[in-house]
Symmetry: C2
Subunit: 220 residues, 2 copies
DNA sequence: TAGATTGTTAATCGATTAACAATC
DNA sequence: TAGATTGTTAATCGATTAACAATC
């Protein structure tokens, strides 16, 4: 079990890490404590070679003749993905999408601490949704000043996407998880992860049209 | 302007098509009727070479010395993506996520006709949400028998994901847009597009941790 | 015709897979 | 030790970029 070396990690590898994380947790849940790259490859429907190459971007986490210790590997990948950084998040926009994200175990299961929601609707401002307080958007800057907030989930209408992104950047947010469908231009200031749900629907339609009976993951 | 030839279209190309669609519609909205691969490449932040290669998978849609007619190209890409197929969809699970997807212009803007929602909650069954009727899950098979339904959006709790996927497959659904986070095994029967929202959050955390001030699209 | 820009081939780059020596 | 399986290098495959002849 050698230690870090971390050479250039490709986008492809980065995007596969969360999937490893998911599968390893699944194994832990089943009390499987040891797995070979071959067994994992069968499970995940990829090649064993790819698994070994991917993991070795970050260090030698396995042991020759044995395979991988699931708990150890899970811990390593969790670390790499920042699960232990205790990142904090707020949700901007308490509409259906914002609520869906707040309710799900989306954050908790990944070590991200959800702190608050923001909206402009007077009917919900200052109330609680899923035991999460809803603040008025006017108090965003004040809140950000007084609390450490790493991530903002942008679930607001298209029309205010750019403006809101700008405000968040000005407050020094580190990352924006952007569901607005608008491409923000905050480069070099903020890390942005765009989720274009509509694009995935179109890919699905394309596959149906071409009769591809496939099972495609987003990101792939 | 030559016509179809359609050689092997890579996954990468497929996944970029909806982005072209979005940008071309943007140009149309601005009444820009003509664009060169070079101009479009600047706009979309890709290479002109890639644009020409991508489009030429489906035919020669441009004209030497002129560039591309935006309206014509938009129409071609819409066709390729099945926008004119009048695909119909239902949403399974009328929780926050289901409602978010039903409310948004997600479907209408892409030529998909949203027909109904399904749920098990007696409080909303037989009511309307966003002028969409909510049926009880028990009547799924009956509804599918009497109506053409191409796509099902799976927005149900994890626990019933596999079972519901199975029922949909049995009814002959063509495509499933799967938000449950569970990987369905319906291969060779149904086209499945999995959306793992949590995975994208983790990628965002990874980027933050490594201080990559990047602007990443899902799918890329 | 001269200028512009495509369609397409060839060159490069990167990612995946195969193979195997190292080693537990 | 013999067997198993990793870590890692080399070979293959595919996707992106560059270049340019074709042509509007």
């Amino acid at each position: 079990m050698q230690e870090p070396k971390q050479i250039r990690v490709s986008n492809a590898v980065r995007n596969r890490l969360p999937r490893y994380f998911r599968y390893l947790r699944g194994l832990l849940d089943q009390n499987i404590l040891r797995i070979s790259s071959f067994e994992l490859s069968r499970l995940m429907n990829v090649t064993a070679s790819q698994i070994r190459q991917d993991l070795n971007c970050f260090g030698g986490f396995g042991q020759q003749g044995y395979g991988y210790n699931v708990k150890y590997l899970y811990g390593k990948i969790a670390d790499i993905l920042g699960v232990n950084e205790a990142y904090t998040a707020i949700i901007i926009g308490a509409g259906n999408l914002g609520r869906a994200l707040s309710a799900a175990s989306t954050f908790t299961n990944r070590g991200v601490i959800l702190k608050a929601m923001f909206d402009v609707d007077e009917n919900i401002v200052e109330k609680d949704i899923n035991s999460l307080h809803v603040y008025h958007m006017d108090s965003l800057e004040e809140y950000m000043n007084e609390n450490r907030v790493d991530i903002a989930v942008l679930a607001v209408p298209k029309e205010v996407a750019a403006k809101t992104g700008e405000r968040l950047a000005a407050c020094g947010i580190k990352g924006i998880w952007n569901f607005t469908g608008i491409e923000l231009s905050l480069e070099n200031r903020v890390t942005v992860q765009n989720v274009h749900l509509g694009d995935r629907l179109m890919t699905l339609c394309y596959e149906i049209k071409n009769n591809n009976k496939s099972n495609k993951d987003d990101m792939q």
